[in-house]
Amino acid sequence: MSYQFHWEVLLAYRGLLMAGLLATLRLVALSFIASVFLGVLTAIGRSFPPPAIKALFACYVEFFRNVPPIVQFFFWSFAVGLDVFPAAFVALSVFTSTYIAEIVRAGIASIPRAQTEAGRSAGMTSTQLIVHVILPQALIRVIPPLAIEFINLVKNSSIAMTIGYAELTFATQEIESETFRGFEAATAVTILYVLLALVVVLATHFVERLVRLDVRKG
């Protein structure tokens, strides 16, 4: 191996790396909120309404989770003509929401039938039942798989570079093309992704504890 390492480029380009990290975080945070919202809505749509409406939501899920994300990014960006950030945001949110919908649907299905019956006999309407009885319990149960989906979202956000969004992976290519120090840049970015994933794992344990304690206290 005749490659000379020059780790000092990382210092020279730390601004670019930081900007990339922040851009990744911004995209991920906004898309996560949107995809949880869409996902929960879809899960409700697949669990409670009459069959025809259920089928509609099923089509949404099956279509958008079986088309590669890069195709969706290109579609929103080049066919629909959205700006770079909105295109990345819509593509990521829609793709991730299909996975979250399936997770939440499983969570809803895991709530025992007796609870619905109890709620009904206490005179609750369907909306009350879903909002006050089923969803709170279902959402707590799905926190661990949601965290995995969050990590997947972080990873998929790297695809936004292909439509020109200057996030973390984009910074690697920028440094590589300006200094030919791709190895050092890729190492730094890889470490940042690993750290992000570790933070998510730790945060999940913390949140899960907090929420479960809260529930036990009533």
Binding site: M1, E62, F63, V67, I70, F74, I151, K155, F183, A186
Partner: protein, 219 residues
């Protein structure tokens, strides 16, 4: 709507599709072999085999596929001191990446085999290797077939990302056509439909297998 480009670029797009299938099949076979090996190392009783496998699996599962593709494209040549074809780099990246996911699926399968079966096999005089090859792996395979199929769908979707290092698979071919004829709605809609047909039929066959296997279990 003008789908004329489909007729004039049919053979070009078909070559791209061919490449997508080639990348999918080759990296599926490669990552099944790699994943099985990693899973066995991961379950090894010796820490000096187990720890490197854990580190490899967990590291690759935390990094985006695009990064892995970059790694192989830029650093395989440095590592081996000779230029590397983009297709080779793409295949190496896809296999390295998917092996780590396959390893976790296969490990779950191996651990789902009841301990009693293994003990019975060992008691009847099978060696550790014989027991692994004839008892554990066949039963594990049956248990994880549905999970493997959903990994396969992710693997097929992942091949579209080698676009970034210039391998002309289906998605790259389609964007190249778009650059010439500029019909983004029709082209990306068409690409989405083709991938959907491919991946959804795989998902469906996975569900079908799941049902079939569940029936076998009950008998």
């Amino acid at each position: 709507m003008d789908f004329g480009f489909l007729r004039t670029n049919a053979s070009y797009l078909f070559d791209g599709f061919d490449m997508t299938i080639f990348l999918s099949v080759t990296s599926l076979v490669g990552s099944l072999v790699g994943g099985t090996l990693l899973a066995l190392l991961r379950l090894s009783p010796w820490w000096w085999l187990r720890w490197p496998a854990i580190a490899y699996i967990d590291l690759l599962r935390m990094v985006p596929l695009i990064m892995v593709i970059f790694w192989f494209f830029f650093f395989l040549p440095i590592l081996i001191g000779a230029p590397v074809d983009a297709t080779v780099a793409a295949l190496a990246a896809l296999i390295a990446f998917n092996s780590s996911y396959m390893a976790e699926v296969i490990r779950a399968g191996i651990q789902s085999v009841p301990r009693g079966l293994v003990e019975a096999a060992r008691c009847s005089g099978m060696t550790h290797l014989q027991c692994t090859a004839r008892i554990v792996l066949p039963i594990a395979t049956r248990n994880i077939l549905p999970a493997l199929v959903s990994r396969l769908v992710a693997l097929v979707m992942g091949t579209s990302l080698v676009y970034i290092i210039g391998v002309t698979e289906f998605f790259r071919a389609a964007t190249n056509v778009d650059n010439r004829v500029f019909r983004p709605y029709e082209i990306f809609g068409f690409v989405a439909l083709v991938y959907f047909a491919l991946c959804y039929s795989l998902s469906l066959s996975g569900r079908f297998l799941e049902k079939r296997l569940a029936r076998g279990e009950a008998r």
